[in-house]
């Protein structure tokens, strides 16, 4: 491991604000194989723009979806379709929770 000096401030980059990511970029960032991404695209878990895998462009949001899908698949033994469903439901739950929060319901449950 190269630098371990806590005084060195490490520069960082926000992944999601990158406008567009290629299939290669997404695989690189999420450490998944391109075959796996193709599988996730087939399930609609991530939706790239472009027809052919070589032309695919992913949004930054795809990173989180792929990463969480991989954790869910591994830990809960979900297949791609199950992970896609869970992700969609989690998004919906999150939106509803935020709305509840904003309505001033401070109940922590």
């Amino acid at each position: 491991m190269a630098k371990e000096n806590p005084n060195d401030v490490l520069q960082s980059e926000i992944i999601e604000t990158r406008r567009e990511m290629s299939l290669y970029d997404l695989c690189e960032v999420c450490t998944v194989s391109s075959e796996r991404v193709v599988q996730l695209v087939d399930e609609g878990l991530v939706e790239p723009v472009g027809r052919e895998p070589a032309e695919w462009r992913f949004s930054g949001r795809s990173v989180r979806r792929v990463v969480v899908a991989e954790r869910l698949s591994r830990d809960l033994r979900l297949n791609a379709a199950g992970a896609a469903l869970v992700l969609d439901l989690l998004d919906e739950v999150k939106q509803l929770r935020q709305r509840l929060n904003r309505l001033g319901d401070t109940d922590e449950s």
């Binding site: 060195d8 980059e13 926000i14 954790r71 929060n101």
Partner: protein, 319 residues
Amino acid sequence: MEFKDYYKVMGVERDATQDEIKRAYRKLARKYHPDVSKASDAEQRFKEVGEAYAVLKDPEKRVAYDQLGAGADWKTGQDFRPPPNWDQGFEFHGGDSGGGGAHEFSDFFETLFGQEDFRGGFTRADHGRFTARGEDTFARIVVDLQDSYLGATRSVTLKHTEIGADGRPALRNRTLSVKIPKGVRPGQHIRLAKQGSAGAGGGESGDLFLEIAFRPHPKFIVEGKDVYLNLRVAPWEAELGARVKTSTPTGDVDLTIPRHSKTGGKLRLKGRGLPGKEPGDFYAVLQIALPPAETEDQKAAYRDFASAFDFDPRRDQEG
């Protein structure tokens, strides 16, 4: 060292069948998975369940563990020291990596069974594409709302495994100073190049990815790039209009409450949300607060109020 009652953690009887244990594990893993559960202790619970399952699913380990409890009635949390040669006559085989997400096992576990493969959870499991390159590593970092507004440097302590001199994996702590980019939003990831696991055979290190979470703020609520504040106003301020001082993450501002405002009405301050190329907006959400009538004068004021209006709040309600 504290004794761990793995049966209790899994919520099963001591004579549970292997199938029952498996079912209990699957159910608890779903319930406490840190990506799914909102419970603040979900990650901790998920680890405990993973550890309990790593022992109970393996008949060899389970028998050995049961043997411990045979003489004394151990309770969770009780100070525990394994009897000498407690594992004599038991043979442990390597076993797989904890059956899903088990990692950073307790001292209790490690004393009894040695260190297992720590991987899982928020450290990437093996999906290595390039054998030479170190794995990318994921972790979470909690930052404050102000950090996103102003940018900040935060130190993060990460646990990671390294193969020690004895050839076994060991858990190490590593503290890094990380620049939190201005405008970062909850759920986004930041990448630190070359700070992941070391590569094999001199290959380059993977990248370190940090998932950003925001510490809940007592006043402001963040939704994507927008920031909300519940702003309490008096009934006369809402109805007659007013100028009120309100706090925003970048300081106090004077806000004009338009006449005939209602509860839930949103006043927008464009571009005062999280910064960025396309900055978010700040919203003050109006909440009309009623002053309690305690003195006679105050009660009289409410009665005057009532007689000044021909107001039936239920007029439009049916039934």
